[in-house]
């Protein structure tokens, strides 16, 4: 065997994944929120042609993998990617690349800026060792395009609406478009059931007289989502957190709790199911 002495666990840490063709590897790149610049894209194409077989694979997490790189060429390929600022991704029991939707910069529904947020999370947590793989996602609003609820920690933008009697023409549009029937109307007075509200902003965006106003806007923290063999949708840890530094404190408390209590090869969500959601939430929130 030509490649004796290669430590696959170590290789996975730096995003080099052995293929079933044992002398060949997939290079997983650290693409945050699915964004690369043109120079980086050109370099990826060049590396795939020179060191791989020309195929470039887009992953399910907005990342890029260059497949079929012969093991003797890995270092050279990695160094060349670094010349345009592309770093290697990660595999194995650690924090993976952060997924993000376009957010409020371009999307009409976006309630938060997502790319900067994803970069901040990536900078702080990427590659950190965890009991099992660990995935973050940042999605701009409850439409949930970046699937925050399928990630170990999902950050979701959202708003809390508030009804103002002044100006309201009692058209009843809000009652009919609220996706969770959280709005009701009695004698011309509109009422929000905050337990039912999913913070999506459809009412505030559509109200013809802007009688539904945004009272609060920010981040909602979701914990314990996963797909895989035993899928589990994430649970809400918080309501709307308005401040980004506060948000980072919630993330840190949840992340540390998992690192401390998660068993080897146990995903965050499955740990929550073992310990109990209410206990886990209580313990995490107590740390804030």
């Amino acid at each position: 065997m030509a490649k004796q002495g290669v430590d696959n666990a170590e290789m996975k840490k730096i995003g080099m994944i052995q293929q079933k063709q044992k002398e060949y590897f997939a290079l997983r790149l650290r693409v945050v929120g699915g964004d690369l610049n043109p120079d980086q894209f050109r370099k990826v194409a060049e590396i795939a042609e020179i060191y791989g077989d020309g195929n470039i694979h887009i992953t399910t997490r907005q990342g890029i993998e260059i497949h079929n790189v012969y093991y003797t060429k890995l270092e050279k390929a990695k160094d060349e990617l670094q010349t345009v600022g592309i770093r290697m991704g990660a595999c194995g029991p650690r924090v993976r690349i952060v997924v993000a939707c376009p957010g409020d910069k371009t999307c009409r529904w976006g309630s938060i800026e997502t790319k900067g947020m994803a970069a901040r999370i990536d900078e702080k947590y990427f590659g950190s060792e965890t009991p099992h793989k660990f995935k973050f996602s940042v999605t701009g609003c409850p439409h949930n395009c970046a699937k925050a609820s399928e990630n170990d920690i999902g950050i979701m933008g959202g708003i809390l609406p508030k009804w103002q009697e002044e100006g309201c023409i009692d058209c009843n549009l809000c009652v009919n478009i609220c996706p969770t029937q959280a709005i009701s109307c009695e004698n011309g007075r509109y009422c929000l059931d905050e337990q039912k509200c999913i913070n999506c902003s459809i009412c505030t965006a559509s109200c013809p007289t802007n009688s539904w106003e945004i009272e609060k806007k920010g981040y909602i923290v979701l914990i314990g989502g996963t797909m895989g063999k035993i899928p589990r949708l994430a649970s809400r840890l918080t309501g709307i957190v308005e401040n980004q530094d506060d948000l980072m404190r919630y993330i840190d408390a949840a992340f540390s709790y998992y690192k401390q209590h998660g068993r080897k090869k146990e995903r965050f969500g499955h740990m929550i199911d073992r310990i109990g959601l209410e206990k886990t939430k209580g313990d995490i929130l107590n740390e804030i």
Binding site: C171, N172, L173, N176, I177, P179, I202, S206, P208, T209
Partner: protein, 77 residues
């Protein structure tokens, strides 16, 4: 609902974004302050069309739930 509507439009079964385009065309023939009655499907249609009309400067006056559709009164902006 008692409104003096200048025009009626049944868009039941017309998908997005054609339902919005047809509404826009209908409004094009009306004057500022005129009312248009539109029948829109539940789901995407009732969420998207009123919001797009707001973006264009028109105003929803009333929404009434029918069976699988909504009767929507729009005021030309």
């Amino acid at each position: 609902m008692k409104y003096k509507v200048a025009k009626r439009l049944d868009l039941h079964g017309v998908p997005c974004p054609m339902n919005f385009v047809k509404t826009k065309v209908a409004l094009f023939g009306l004057e500022c302050g005129d009312l248009l009655e539109v029948i829109l499907d539940e789901g995407e249609a009732i969420i998207n069309v009123p919001r797009s009309l707001k973006d264009e400067g028109h105003k929803i006056i009333k929404v009434e739930k029918l069976e699988e559709t909504f009767r929507v009164i729009v005021e030309h902006g």
